[in-house]
Structure formats: C-alpha cells, structure tokens
C-alpha cells in the first residue's frame, strides 16, 4: 500500500489514501489535503501505523493466538473457528500492507476483543452488554476493512447507523441459532421470553452506546489530526 502517492491529489478516491501516519512528514501534509477527503477518508483513517499502537495490537493478537492453540488442543471446533476468524480480521490490514505497523487503533481492537481477552487472561465471563459492545466494535472493524478491500464506500454517519443495526441483527441471528439448537440438539440456551427480551434490551443499549461512542471517537480523531497537521505546518 502506498502511503504517499495520493497525498498531492485534492480528492483521492482509491480508498488507500486516508491511511494515517502518526509521525507526520511536513512535506506531505498540506492542510487542504485533509479538507479534500475529510469525509471519505474518515473511516480509513482509523488505521494507524505508529509503533506503540502496533505493539499493543500485536500483543492482543498474541493472546488470541494462545487461545487458538488452547482450543486446538481441546479440539473445540466453534471457538477455534471464531478465534481464527478474529485473527484474520485483526491482522488483515498489516498483511495487506506488508507492514506489521499498519494496525487498527488499539482502543477499537481492545473493545472488540475485550470478552475474549478477559476470559483468556482472568478467566471471567463478560455480561451481555460488554459482549455486544464488542460485536459492535467488530462490525465497525469489518466495515472499515470492506471499505479498504472492496468497492464499498460509506460515510461516517452511515457506518455508525450500520454498526448499530448490525449489533441488533446479530442478537436476532444468535437467538434463532440458539432456539434451533435447543430444539435439535437438546441444549437449553434460551429460557423464557422475558429473559430474552431483557437480553435484547441490553443489546439495544449496547448498540446505541457503541454508536454514540464511535461517532464521538471519529470526531475526536478528526480534531486530533487537524491539530497535528496544524502543528506540523506551522513549524
């Protein structure tokens, strides 16, 4: 992935141009570059290539890899598949860029992986709210990566709305799966309608909180980038 090739273009549309570099090079940061693709680039600018960020992110991937090996020994197929998919999603930007420093921001990754990390490191189970907050973060990561790797292009507000809806839809799909498992495999995953409605209520809250959180996060990152660029240009 070329970091600098499109910086001169006022409005870049190839999707790779918005990748942020934490250490800004004064030569490639005219303020109008940001103005030009401020809206479109907002999503991809979630990507970072700072060293500290990469270290934290890869530390989380290492824990994931540990969990994967553990599930390999226990031969637990479902956790194996889920963890493997998580590793692929998290490592995809670095692999695509052939640069281990290109990783998603650790705070977003941390939110997405929180239930798995807490379970692996401390052995506790997270509640419904935290689990669905993590699913919302994953939906955000996947949206960003689809934007990177396919022709899908969405804006900041579209991504936020989509993430909220995906969180609710995941709860619905998971409920249908559990209900059918209860019927066909004799499990007891669902209890009463009231319990399910209370779970869905928490899921809806988690989805809305995630939406507000991501919206605020996008705005703050935007302001931060403006500050950094302003600082570099003034020098």
């Amino acid at each position: 992935m070329s970091m600098n090739s499109d910086k001169s273009a006022p409005k870049a549309t190839d999707g790779n141009s918005g990748v942020e570099i934490d250490e800004f090079d004064p030569s490639d940061s005219e303020p109008d570059v940001l103005e030009g693709d401020a809206i479109e680039g907002r999503l991809e600018r979630l990507l970072r290539s700072g060293r500290t960020n990469a270290l934290v992110a890869w530390a989380m991937v290492t824990v994931l890899a540990g969990v994967f090996v553990e599930s390999l020994f226990d031969f637990d197929l479902l956790p194996m598949a889920i963890i493997a998919a998580m590793i692929v999603v998290v490592a995809a930007p670095a692999v695509a860029a052939r640069d281990p420093k290109v990783m998603l921001p650790w705070e977003v990754l941390g939110l997405a992986l929180l239930p798995v990390l807490v379970r692996a490191l401390f052995g506790g189970e997270m509640g419904t709210f935290a689990a669905y907050l993590a699913i919302a973060a994953f939906a955000l990561i996947i949206t960003v990566e689809f934007q990177m790797f396919t022709t899908l292009r969405v804006t900041h507000w579209f991504a936020v709305v989509f993430v909220v809806m995906t969180t609710l839809a995941t709860a619905a799909a998971w409920t249908v799966l559990r209900w059918n498992a209860d019927r066909m495999l004799g499990t007891n995953l669902l209890t009463t309608n009231e319990a399910l409605m209370i779970e869905w209520l928490y899921v809806t809250l988690a989805g809305l909180v995630a939406g507000i959180l991501f919206d605020a996060y996008f705005r703050r990152r935007e302001a931060y980038l403006r500050r950094v660029i302003g600082w570099v240009v003034r020098r």
């Binding site: 809206i39 479109e40 689809f146 396919t150 022709t151 899908l152 292009r153 969405v154 804006t155 579209f158 989509f162 909220v164 809806m165 995906t166 969180t167 609710l168 839809a169 709860a171 619905a172 799909a173 409920t175 249908v176 209900w179 669902l190 209890t191 009463t192 309608n193 399910l196 409605m197 869905w200 209520l201 899921v203 809806t204």
Partner: protein, 217 residues
C-alpha cells in the same frame, strides 16, 4: 423480468387500484364491526391499518413521485392480512401469523433497500455494491424485528400495569423466535427477487425528489 414488465406497464393499473380499494373498504368494515360490537382491538388495528394504506398516495402527491400501483397493493395487503388476523385468523389458522410476518418484513426490507439505493444514488461518498445490499437487507429486517418485539414487550408491560388492552401482544418465546425466522423469509424473498425491480423504484423516487436523474455510479 415479467414483474418488471408489469410494473412498467402503466396502461392497466386499474386492476391493482381496484384490489387496493376493495381491501380498504373491507378495512372500513372491520373498523365498523369494532365500533358496533365494542371490539377495541378491531378499531385500533383497522384504523391504523387504514391510515397506512393511504401513505403511498400521500407520498406520491407530496413528493411528486410517479404513482406505482403495485406499491399500494403490497402495503395494503400486508396491513389487510394483519388486521384480518388480529380480528379472527391468528386464533384460527396457525400459519397466518407467519404469513403476515413474512409479508410485513418484505415491506421493511423493501423500504430499507429503497432507502439504501436512494442514498447510493444521491451521495457521491456512498457506494454500495449489490452483494452488500443483500447483507444490508437482512441486517435491516433482523434489527427492525428486535426493535418491534421490544415494542410489543413494552406494550405488554404497560397493558399488565394499567389493564388497558393493547392491539399487539407477545405470545411466548417460541412465537418471538418464529416471528424472527419468518421475518427473515420475507427479507430473503426481497433480497433475492426484489433487487432488480426496486432499483427502478429508487431511481424514480430520486427523480421525483430531485427532479433530475443522477447517473447512478
């Protein structure tokens, strides 16, 4: 292809109009029945339903969207079958509930997809390829299903606290999950067959709202 051809055929929208009118008249009859025999459920369901059936005409007039007779039939039959159900058939025919859920979900899916296409056409920054539209339709329908069931749950709580009889109610865990499954059936039908047709509807809405038809990149 045939669906699309029929939709383009504006020479005989009379049949669709007539079907819509007949269902509206029957809805009025259900409301009347509710008034005469003191059935509040029939009045609220029939009344709200009757109002919903006029939304397409209102939209067409206020936003200058070319009328689509099939849209009227689609919306009116969803509302009509639900009102019939809450008046009699939900209790009599076990699969009636599944039928209305699939049909209403197809409406939600259609509305969601049309909105998506309209955003896609209107905004330069948003571009949604067709295979993502398939996923999007499912996400919209399933998410709407969750919100809807929570709404029914809230009505149940209010009704239990105050003793007021509500037009909608939940009927246990199995019913909630089955509702979601039949909602997905409706979403699947729209996602599979609806895309080709609704693309034209979104373009026409865009044309009605903004005058010119932008080239949909």
């Amino acid at each position: 292809m045939s669906v699309r051809g029929t939709l383009r055929d504006h020479s005989s929208p009379r049949t669709q109009r007539r079907v819509t009118r007949v269902m509206q008249v029957l809805l009025v009859a259900i409301v009347g029945y509710g008034v005469v025999f003191g059935q509040p459920k029939a009045i609220t369901n029939g009344g709200i339903g009757l109002f919903v059936t006029f939304i397409p005409a209102l939209l067409e007039r206020n936003y200058n969207i070319p009328p689509n007779p099939w849209l009227g039939v689609w919306i009116t039959s969803a509302v009509f079958l639900h009102t019939l159900g809450s008046a009699w058939f939900y209790a009599l025919i076990p699969w009636w509930d599944h039928l209305t859920h699939a049909l209403s979900a197809s409406l939600v899916a259609g509305a969601g997809y049309t909105t998506l296409r309209a955003i896609d056409l209107h905004s330069d920054q948003v571009e949604i390829p067709a295979r993502f539209a398939f996923v999007f339709i499912f996400v919209v329908v399933l998410a709407f299903g969750v919100v809807w069931e929570l709404f029914e749950f809230a009505l149940d709580i209010v009704s239990a606290k105050t003793g007021i009889s509500m037009p909608l109610a939940q009927h246990g865990l199995d019913d909630t999950v089955l509702d979601q499954m039949y909602n997905s059936v409706g979403a699947l039908i729209v996602a599979t067959f609806g895309q080709a047709h609704l693309t034209g509807v979104a373009a026409r809405i865009q044309k009605g709202l903004y005058g010119t038809l932008d080239e949909g990149s």
